[in-house]
Structure formats: C-alpha cells, structure tokens
C-alpha cells in the first residue's frame, strides 16, 4: 500500500477538476469544486447528504452538464457531454441503486451499456468469466428482479469492468451490503488498484474510508472544505470536517428488568404470501416488543422488511387477527387507523407519497395521519377542521424537531428529504404513542439530524413505550437498540441482546446460511 501512496506524489493525475460549478435554480449544488485523482489510487469523496457529491459525479459521468469549470483527462481538457463520452474516455460508474432494469436479465442489462453489437450470449459468457475471475459469481441468465441487492451490485460492477475503464466511480457502494459482502468488495477494489486503475469512492461511512482509501476530498454545502489522508485522521475528525461542527453522540442507558415489562407489541406466527412475483413471502414471524425497549431489525434490503412493515402497520391485513397484537388486543384485522387508535404509530420508509402527501402542506399532512387519533383536538363540531389548532401543532413539531424550511407551512415536497423525515418522525412522536414502528428512520438524513431522531426514539422507549426500528444501517441499530433481530429471506431471527451482538454475528445472520460467508468469517476470526 505504501507504493500506491508514492505513486500519488509522482503527479501523474488521471483526472483533474478545476472550479466545477453546478447551479439548480437558486441552489449552488457544486461551487468551484477542485479534485485531483492520481493513477492507481482509491480516492474518497466525503460529505453529508446534500453536500454535492452526487451532483459532482454526475457531471464527471456526463449525466449533468456543469455551468462552469474545467475537466482534464490525462492532462487534456475534455467536455463530458453524455455518459457515452465518459465511457469512451474510460470512466465507468457503479450507481447506487437506480440503473438496472428489473424486468431484464443480468446479461441484457450488461449488453445495454456496451456499445458493441456482439450477441447477448457472448456478452453473457464474458460476464460470467470476468465475474468468477474477480470472485463475484454471477448468473447472467437470472432476472434482475429476482436478485438480492448485493447481487445486483455485482452486475453493476461487472458491467462497469467489461468497459475496461481507467477510472471507476462507486456511489455509496456498501450501503446495501452485509459486512461480509462489503469485505469482498474491498478485496475487489484493492485488486483493481493493484492493476493500476483509479477509483473514486463515495461514502459517508468513515471507518471503511479510513480502511481502503488513499486520499480524501471533503465536500460541505457544495464546496471543497479539505483534502486529507484518511489514514491519518480519526473517524471523529473526518466527521467534523463533513458536518462543520461536533456531532452529538447518542446516549442510551441500559434498561433493567425488561423481561417483566408488559408486552405492547406482539407478533405471533405472522406469515404472508408474496403479493407480487418480485416480493418476499413472510414465514412464521414471532416477536415481542416490551414497554421501555428498542428492538432493531437488521437485514439486507429486500429480504421482507417492507412486507413486514406493511403487515404490522395495517397497510395489509392479516387473516389471523391474533398474529399482530397491540397493547394486548388483537389487531390483525384492523386497518391503519384502527391500529393507531390502539396507541400505535408508524413511520414508513418512503417519505413522499407514503409518509407524506407531496403536494400538501405540512399541517395538512399532520391532519391526514392524526385526524382519527386526535379527532377531538383537530376536528370541531360538524366535521369542520380547526385549522388554527392544526397549524399550531405543526409549528410545535417543526420547532421540536428543528425542521429547516423556506416558508411557514410549506408543501411536503418542498422540504429536503432529511427535513421531511424529521417532520414525519416528529409528527408521530408528538402523540407519545405507546407503540412506535419505524422503517429506515434516518435514511438520507444528515448526521446531526440522524442523532436527533435516534435520541428521540430512545427517549420515547425510556418513557414506557415499545419501539421497533427496521434499518439497513447497522451502526444505527447498534447505537439505539436494546436487542437486534435479523430478517433474512422473509424469516426473522430471535432478537440478540445488544450486549451479546457483534457486527460479525449480525452480519452472518444477514447473509443467511450461505456457506461462503461462514468460511470467510473463519478466516478473519
């Protein structure tokens, strides 16, 4: 690895970016950004959500056109006007999760990004050979809709490698992987580096950046705020550079005697057939969440978490009313409102169109979710809405959760994702529910706000409520949970008390009983 660092100092820059600027309306997403990437280095691009990382790489890949600034490739000034131009130069991109076609096979997906007219069967053969040589086994005939997120990412990586790029851009590659899958990815990246390829690695996970990256460029509010060698920094110092101030640590005091506390949410032998060909069946799920505790559900995306949330929240009803019990009452045949009236609150994963109606004001969104539970407060005689009271309640939530907005009562869609999430979580917390079920509480939320939401969830549980959190972010679950259960392929493991849980154990459960994973752990252990 020392050799790579010295290669950086030769000054052989593969890519140089000077003063790149992109303006969307009134927002300057990238403001005179400078970036150098040397040959054979793994370069980290760090920043919070909304710092401009995605905008920057979209300009490098030709998906967006910069307003001003220059890009040099091997020392020559270039204009990257389309992804086709980027590919010709030798820039490849592994997207986070939005560039595969679910209804097509892996081979067809790969063929679509290659410009040669060779038949699908020969592309499939090439992809298969390449995937095995990198230890990322892939069946080119499989339908993408049937694959796990980790497998989908393999397709993206193989697709990118088949174009023999000089620079590979990876956008948040590990956010959807189990720890073991991430290890495998790091091996691949290190091998690519040893072959002389450069990698631009976008992440907000500081530990992995420290582990594999040679240099880092940090963005904040669209501006470069620093370059550093991540190996010489601590996670805390990197976080400080990203956020601009100290991030408050989440405090979770252990609770005693939880075994005797009353069970507020009970799930008994919950099963569900797959609703669509691409969804996961739920198999005999059992779980008890007691007053005063936070239970976390880990799992790789697409293992049934969404289906589970729908069943618990009442979006989908159960045949057996006793399979979901809220505060001791059978709730399986009740709809969302019925379950809310029993004292439960739900925060779905998708904010716009699910957690909030995009074109309605925040106060209206508040009324939509709480008209039944707070009917007396918000709705007066004759069914007239007390808009003043609703408005005041919305303002209270906005203040408590520190929601940043441009108007007093804006439309939900006008808020950034993180701020809307704060409002949606705050809307449910404001009721002091005795059962709170949250799916991906801080997805896409910046570090400061995420800490705020996590602390609020812990405090809710300590005041005597049962909190169930479904998340793909293991760090988050370890921070807030008293016990962690893992969902894999529609089955839920027994909750593991936090004192016994390790990344290793949870990671193994997340990968299922796949033997490859078990062997790998034995090696590293």
């Amino acid at each position: 690895m020392g050799g790579t660092v010295s290669a950086n100092q030769d000054g052989a820059n593969l890519l140089e970016v000077r003063g790149l600027t992109k303006i969307f309306g009134t927002l300057t997403a990238c403001d005179h950004v400078d970036l150098n990437i040397a040959k054979g280095e793994i370069h980290a691009l760090l920043g919070e959500n909304g710092a401009g990382k995605s905008t920057l790489v979209k300009m490098l890949f030709g998906s967006l056109e910069p307003n001003s600034g220059e890009i040099f490739w091997n020392g020559d000034a270039v204009r990257i006007t389309s992804p086709g131009v980027a590919k010709k130069l030798g820039i490849g991109m592994v997207f986070q999760h939005f560039s595969l076609f679910e209804a097509l096979t892996a081979a067809e997906n790969i063929a679509l990004s290659l410009d040669d007219g060779s038949p699908i069967s020969s592309i499939a053969a090439k992809a298969r050979a390449l995937s095995y040589s990198y230890g990322l086994p892939l069946d080119p005939e499989s339908l993408v809709g049937d694959l796990s997120v980790g497998e989908r990412q393999r397709i993206e990586i193989i697709r990118c490698l088949l174009q023999t790029p000089q620079l590979i851009i990876l956008d948040e590659p590990t956010s959807v992987l189990t720890p073991q899958e991430a290890d495998k990815l790091f091996e691949t990246l290190e091998r690519l580096r040893s072959e002389g390829k450069s990698i631009l690695y976008i992440s907000h996970r500081l530990e992995e950046v420290k582990r594999i990256c040679d240099r880092a460029t940090v963005l904040r509010h669209g501006k470069v705020v620093g370059h550093c060698n991540p190996r010489e920094e601590t996670a805390a110092s990197l976080a400080r550079m990203m956020v601009g101030n100290e991030v408050q640590a989440v405090v979770r005091a252990p609770v005693a005697g939880i075994e005797t506390a009353s069970p507020l949410l009970e799930i008994r032998a919950l099963s569900r057939k797959p609703a669509t060909p691409f969804s996961i069946p739920l198999k005999n799920i059992n779980l008890t969440v007691r007053a005063g505790e936070v239970i976390g559900i880990a799992g790789v995306a697409g293992n049934g978490q969404g289906e589970f949330f729908e069943s618990v929240s009442g979006e989908v009803l159960q045949q057996d009313a006793a399979s979901v019990r809220i505060r001791g009452k059978d709730a399986g045949s009740l709809g969302i409102t019925g379950r809310r009236l029993l004292g439960a609150a739900f925060v779905p994963e998708e904010r716009l169109g699910h957690g909030a109606a995009p074109r309605m004001k925040l106060s209206e969104n508040l009324l939509l979710s709480r008209h039944a539970t707070d009917g007396k407060t918000f709705v007066g005689s004759g069914g007239m809405v007390k808009s003043g009271t609703v408005y005041a309640a919305a303002q209270r939530i906005i203040e408590v959760m520190d929601v940043r907005k441009s108007a007093p009562d804006p439309e939900a869609a006008a808020l950034s994702g993180g701020n809307l999430q704060k409002f949606i979580v705050g809307r449910e917390l404001d009721r002091r529910p005795s059962v709170m079920v949250v799916n991906q509480p801080t997805w896409g939320v910046d570090a400061g706000a995420a800490a705020h939401i996590r602390q609020a969830l812990i405090e809710l549980s300590r005041s005597g409520s049962a909190v169930l959190v479904i998340s793909q972010d293991l760090d988050e679950l370890f921070e807030i949970s008293d016990a962690i259960a893992v969902m894999h392929n529609g089955e839920l493991s027994k909750p593991l008390p936090i004192a016994e849980a390790t990344f290793e154990k949870i990671g193994l459960l997340m990968g299922g009983a796949e033997p490859g994973h078990a062997e790998h752990t034995l090696e590293t252990a």
Binding site: S63, L64, P83, F98, F101, E102, A103, E108, G145, P277
Partner: protein
Amino acid sequence: MDITVNILLTIATAATPLLIAAIGELVVERSGVLNLGVEGMMIMGAVGGFGAGYLTGSPWIGLLAAIIMGAAFSLLFAVMTLSLATNQVATGLSLTLLGLGLSGMIGTSFVGQPGVRLPNLDIPGLSSIPVVGKLLFGQDPIFYISIALTAAVMWFLFRTRTGLTLRSIGDSHTSAHALGIKVIRYRYLAVIFGGACAGLAGGHLSLVYTPQWVENMSAGRGWIALALVVFASWRPWRVLAGAYIFGAVWIGQLHAQAFGIPVPSQLLSSLPYLATVVVLVLISRNKRLTMMNTPASLGQPFVPDR
C-alpha cells in the same frame, strides 16, 4: 364450404385493422409512452386514405396518405408529451377528440362519394386452389402487411439490440438515461411508428373494409386496439390472438343476429368484448410473466435533468 371460407375471410378483414393499430400501440407502450389517441389517429388515417384515393384515383396513394396522416398526427402527441412533458392521458384523450372532429370537417365533401378499393391479391393458379387458395393467396394486401408487421415487431423487440434498448426504456427511463440512452429520441420514433400503424389501420377501413367515407367510421376500434394491448400483456402474438378472437366473435354474432337467434341483440353485440377479455385474461394468468412484460414506466413523463 364456400360459406366457411367467406366467413373466415370476413373475420380476417375485421381483425386486420385491430391488429395493426394494436401492434403499433404495443411498440409505443413498450417504450413507456401511453398514447390514448389511437382512435383519433385511426380516423385521421381513414379520412386521409379515402381523400387521397378519391382525388387521385389510386388506392395505393391512398394507403400511403393514410400512413403519413397517422404518423403526422402522432407527431403532435409526441411533441406535447415528450418535448413539453404534458400529461400523456390527457393529451391522448384530446388527440382522439381532435381527430374525430377534424376528420369530420375534412371529410364533409367526401360523404356519399364512391371510393376506391385496394385490389385483393390474386396469384394465378395459387389463388384458385380450393379453400386454402383464397385464404392464403387471395386477400387484401393490408392483411399480409399486418401478419408481416406482427412477426417483424416480435423479432425487433426480442431479438435485436435496438429492441432491447426500447424495452429497457419502458422498464425504467431514469436507468436508461443514466446509461446514456437517448430516451426521448427512442420514444419519438416509437410514437411515430405507432401513429403510422394507426393510420394504416384507418386506411384499411376506408380503402378495404368499406371503401367510402363515413363520419366516425372507426367506431371505437382504436379503443379496442388499446384494450387488446393491455389484455395481451404487451406481447405481440397475444395481440394477434386477441384481434382474431375479437374478429371471430364479432362476425359470429352478426351471423347469429341475422339468423334471428332468440337472444337480445345487445347481449350478442357485447359478446366480442367479453370473449376477448376472458380469453386474454386466461392466457395472461402467469403473474410473473405479466410483470416481466409490463412496461414499468408506462405513462410517466420523463424530464431529464441537465
């Protein structure tokens, strides 16, 4: 025997315009665009085809005019929905209303005029073979075009790289755009192809089926074609099957009415619709295949961020 052959021939004539319009719309929808203006493009093709044939005396020029008319009319839809990103449902509906009105206006002077008819294919020797001869070698040229078109679209969509690209755009236009595929250009071409097909189907009505101009002569066939595409779960051979089932039951119920079968005529008239839906729903039972063939981005406007 002759009666059977004649019935089969009328079935083919009834099914051909549905098949052509539906195959065109299938390509449009496979690219992720929902054009509800099929009826309007069809009637414009019918009036254009009749007018050009009547004025020049050549049914072949009429046929060409029908195709151009349909394509030009669909271009209006393409500009609105693709370049200006208007709502596809609303734009398609207004295209149909505009087409019905405009064709009536253009066609005022054509009403009651004798039209020209495309001659049937006639291969000496072959066409006079009993039964098969007339069915295989003695039909109107558009019948052969419709069958060839179905085969060509099947081959294009599932055997060529361009067809794969078109399907990928229908599955996810954002992914396609991220890969550098020219989403808007593909969709323009698909919409214009669909328009040309609808125009050709309209030409069949006014140059073969009933060689004259009658206002609203498309009589809802564009809507049937649209329904066929959905019920056939966007698969060409099922569209073919659907069009012929519809044609067969349609002709069958006409004969049944003529024989005076004691069943309310309204019920008989609704039979083709019922039968087609039931059969196509039955063959589309496989949810997984249906899912794979449904264009996931159908009807969503696409605005690339630049």
